[in-house]
Amino acid sequence: MRGRAETFAPLSARRLLVLGGIGLILVGMLVGDMLAVFVLHQNAARVGESLSAAAHAAVAGDANAVAASFLSVGSFLENRGTKVDTHAHMIAFGYLALMLAILQPWVALREGTRKKVAWIFLFGSWLLPVGVFLIHYVGLAHSPLTTIGWASIFADLGGVVVIVATVGYLLGIVRYLRQRQSLSTPDWLLEDRSVAGRILIAGGLALVLLGFLHGAYYAAMDLYNQEALDAGLLNYVAAAASSRHLTQVEQGLGLYGQLAGKKAVNIAAHAHAIEFGLLAMLLAFFQPYVSLREQWKQTWAWVLLAGSLGLPVFVLLELKLGLVAGGIADVGGLLVILALLAMWIGIVRYTGELDSAPQLRAGGRG
């Protein structure tokens, strides 16, 4: 069984992936929170305004104004989509980094190679979201292609780099499995059964299951109806505009806005419950690296779970309770960020203790 210091040495592949992965998740969550507060809601309102302007232009019989309104809808949707993608990909790559960190003892490659692959993975993990974020601003400027701009090309390159690094680790695992002589438990990290770890595993699993049950219920009861209603309402608005019935246009647009809200909160609740559950489970494995007092480790585990449950539940309640629920959901997100930051600081403290120990021993001998 490998020791703590050996598997978490300075700039080792595991340490790079753990600190880089939690860093990606933290930045991804902060980006998500800032975008939600300062960009996404305003952007959604502008999309609604532009759609309304297009419908009113259709009532007035002004086809040019319709085209101009939809041009701005497209721009707002692209702006929104790329920002959500930036948030989601940073967090997803952070999760993948943590998983690859746990799997390191099973990757039968030289430490130097594993370290290089970790740097390549982290490079791609930053390149993709940064590229995606810039798509809206760079557009097609100086692009050699007709539909894809430079930012998109670099984002795709980031994705390819991440795939190459993941394939590299996969080959290492396949190589490990072929070396049958070393199939015993390779890592002390998985032996940990601390209370904080158990809280995070049990809570994380429960969140994942809740997220799945909600997703299945939503898909069975609402998804197909809402898809049909989406197109039906747009047809209704277009037909009302064609026959110049302004009241019906307004009514249709109002219902369309409500429908968009319902879809958004259901998808957000489903995705966040599962993602936070997965995060809790992943963090459970790293609790031995969190250099905090046991009581604090348990407290931060509960804070993470409380925020992870609060966010999706209150996102769902936004339709009934309005902005109050939205505010509580944001507090839930903040709790998750705080708990994650505390654990990250705990891991950084641990790396400091680990790195200074040989120096202290050397000093003691001298």
Partner: protein, 162 residues
């Protein structure tokens, strides 16, 4: 490494790779064109309404519905394959905390892996066929995911007891 753990970890990484490769392919060859088509069909529909041509508006909005239907599913497949892959890997890593015999663990692992592949595949096939097979595949896959996940949770709960 036990057979069930190996199945979950290797299967999970393969599924994550499948989801990523599919995502890159989709982003390069289909997504931009699909989004462009969604925008154009909406513009055409409302421009036709402005020109008092309800049948042209209806046709364009029907095209919007088809494109949006496919777009939502393409994005969902990418997200679900990778998301489920991550759950498989994490469960594989923590499998020694599941308090079941090796056979039951293997059964749960195999069910979870097959379901995690089939559920998004069913969603993807809905873009190619509107027949009953793709939705049945998606529903069966999702039910199997939930059932095997519930089994894993039961095993974890048994393992937590002192």
């Amino acid at each position: 490494m036990s057979g069930a753990r190996r199945l979950l970890i290797i299967g999970g990484i393969c599924l994550a790779l499948l989801g990523m490769i599919y995502g890159v392919w989709y982003a390069v060859f289909a997504e931009h064109q699909e989004l462009d088509g969604i925008g154009k069909s909406l513009t055409t529909g409302f421009s036709a309404a402005a020109q008092r041509d309800p049948s042209a508006a209806d046709g364009a909005l029907q095209q919007y519905y088809e494109l949006k239907y496919n777009y939502d599913r393409h994005v969902d497949v990418h997200g679900h394959w990778i998301g489920l892959a991550m759950i498989l890997i994490v469960l594989g890593i923590g499998l020694d905390r599941v308090s079941f015999g090796e056979q039951v663990k293997m059964l749960l692992a195999a069910a979870l892996l097959v379901a995690s592949f089939l559920f998004p595949l069913g969603v993807l096939l809905q873009t190619l066929s509107r027949g009953p097979v793709p939705p049945v595949l998606a529903v069966a896959g999702s039910v199997l995911v939930i059932a095997s996940l519930a089994g894993m949770i039961l095993g974890f709960a048994r393992g937590q007891k002192p």
